[in-house]
Symmetry: none
Subunit: 403 residues, 2 copies
């Protein structure tokens, strides 16, 4: 949601340019500020930022994206498993990448391909099993389970179109890294063989679509060793969000994942369904995280007009929430997990706006919810990992330190 | 540059009282804030503050002033070397200090004395060599190089006139501290013997000047183990500054030191020469640190009028920079490395103003660059070590943490 000032908007940010009566109402009735998800200037990933917003010290506990993505997609990840984020992609005969997203392949096509890939057998000697699952469009996850594995293996994904896929290598001298590298290499080669001649790809060529003829993998990770939110704050917490990565972080934090029909993690998500599910979830949960991915997608596409429209949809969604919860006994905090620049199309290190409304907050005189008005608010500038203690303290779930 | 409000200025700070159109232009077109060089209330040295402004955690990596001073004076300091700051001083026959600066001895006299001191031989058994070099007036540096040395040795400089020079002692039980202490003691005694009967001192007595008959040493230090800026951010960085200590910190950070004719590290420095060198350096460097020592010197002297004049000279210098760089593709940040009070004449723990201008910054409504206006700005309050990530993020040289 957060951005930098844009020339196209007469040097306003999309949030400043959007019509957003509900966001403004939250700012007006609450206390505002700016927040560095991790620390000033550091561009966070969605995973590290969400860890921080849930109160964890991401710099200490982060253990790679792969496991979060897998867990959030409904693939079990056990301690010891190594998980990867994957893309269906298009390469030419020399393994040079033509499209890192295989034309943003449909869920339907990806599902059929994934089903075939899951049938592949690893050599018996590798003594391991794997789980491959497509998630949204070109995205997929891979989990390898074996006796002694390591996350110290390099990516096959060079993350750049026009480059050859990278050779998978162990990143340290351990036998675990060597074994994991060999298994991953075997899988990637077998995946490529199956995809090259798959009927779905022949059909895609007929329809003029790029073939999904390779799997790119990156971000080897394990499940981080963290206490659950209920252990830390004695609260039950739930997550309403469709993006697998966010769901994975929430799952790792011991939160309940609530499925919402129509919630897709895309700009086409059903905002109102999420609003209704949130109001419902607040009846039985102490803490509900409502996450919307859409604005980030628009920013990565540099689509300013869409970003504004999506902010306005988020605003309507929050309007429903505001009208259906009792703000005399409920706190509502609105923020972003990071700034994404519509110009660089990357996550950036600028702080995000934050507003908290509810009983007894030290209401300030900020009347608009945006990056620059909130910067003048009563919270001043805090860090992402400060948010959860602040909220948990407001609902009376923090313990005194000392006596 | 930063100060506290002064009665003599009708409770304005020197920065508030000065005419400073260029500084104000930077504030007006940029985002402003205040910054604690290390942490609130902690008065930093110029070395620790500069380390922090370059993005290092000074509380963790600082390893004494000696090595920075030596490196900044053009004396090589290798890992393992122990470096000291030294003074030419005057003692009586009982080794009681009469003048800690030997009458602010001239560079000429100090050079002749230093040349003789460098010829001294250490006992073979000490298995070490040393480098002694005078820098500005009474100041000098000493570097000891040997197999196993330690910084755990006490100073010979009691830093007080009328006291006897201090006995050098190892500060822990290690053999390294014992050996270093013995070498230092041997050197100090041999230095004293040579200086006592040196022709330069006989000539000084004839001219009615205090003899420079002893070397006082303090601040044992090593080169800190830090990554260079180019390793951290993949940028090439240069320093334009004359003060040896600042140059030493920049050298330790892997920065190129640019020599500027007329830049002296004093109030008489050639501001315009530094401005021109900065504009030139920006053509081939990603990051240029332009450092001016002069306002700090005026503050230590309690010379408020001179401090204001020097701020106005800095303003003209920045006017040249502003007029000769392209602010559509260059970022300019202006700050101080610490507050120096014209009343206490010491470095103080108050935060310093900071303004950053350049493309896509979240410009705020601050119009004047000073301690109290900047405190209302969009950056709020950051720490010194947050500045470099913030700037490097703006120029696109930070890596995303997470995914």
């Amino acid at each position: 949601m957060a951005d930098r000032p844009l020339k196209e908007l007469d040097w306003k940010t999309p949030l400043e340019a959007a019509r957003k009566p509900s966001l403004n109402q939250i700012a007006k009735t609450g206390i505002c500020g700016i927040m560095d998800p991790i620390s000033p200037g550091l561009p966070p990933g969605s995973d590290t930022a969400t860890l921080a917003l849930l109160g964890y010290d991401a710099l200490k506990v982060y253990s790679g994206r792969g496991a979060f993505e897998a867990v959030g997609s409904g693939v079990d990840v056990l301690p010891g498993d190594v998980a990867f984020r994957c893309n269906f992609a298009t390469v030419d005969n020399n393994l040079v990448i033509l499209d890192r997203r295989a034309g943003r392949i449909s869920n339907e096509d990806a599902s059929k391909l994934a089903e075939s890939l899951q049938k592949i057998k690893l050599k018996k000697s590798s003594n391991a099993v794997f789980f491959f699952k497509n998630t949204i469009q070109h995205r997929a996850v891979l989990v390898i389970r074996g006796a002694k594995l390591s996350t110290a293996v390099s990516d096959s994904d060079p993350e750049k179109v026009g480059e050859k896929i990278s050779e998978i290598k162990p990143l340290d001298e351990s036998p675990e890294a060597r074994v994991t590298g060999e298994i991953l290499k075997e899988l990637m080669q077998k995946f490529h063989q199956v995809l090259k001649q798959h009927p779905v790809n022949k059909e895609r060529v007929r329809r003029g679509l790029p073939r999904a003829n390779i799997i790119l993998c990156r971000g080897a990770g394990t499940i981080p060793k963290i206490k659950s939110l209920s252990q830390i704050y004695d609260t039950n917490a739930a997550c309403i969000g469709a993006a697998p990565l966010i769901r994975g972080v929430c799952k790792a934090a011991g939160m309940k994942l609530i499925d919402v029909k129509g919630a897709t993690g895309t700009p086409q998500t059903d905002f109102m369904a999420k609003a209704k599910a949130t109001v419902q979830a607040l009846k039985t949960n102490d803490f509900v995280l409502l996450h919307v991915k859409a604005t980030d997608v628009a920013s990565h596409d540099g689509n300013i007009k869409q970003k504004i429209e999506l902010i306005e949809k988020i605003d309507s969604m929050l309007g429903y929430v505001l009208n259906n919860i009792n703000l005399n006994e409920t706190y509502l905090a609105v923020t972003a997990d990071h700034t994404t620049s519509s110009v660089t199309r990357n996550h950036e290190g600028d702080p995000v706006p934050i507003a908290i409304t509810g009983p007894y907050v030290r209401r300030d005189d900020i009347e608009e919810y945006d990056e620059r008005e909130c910067a003048k608010g009563g919270l001043n500038r805090i860090r992402g990992m400060d948010l959860m203690p602040t909220l948990m303290n407001l609902i009376g779930e923090t313990k005194e330190f000392g006596a």
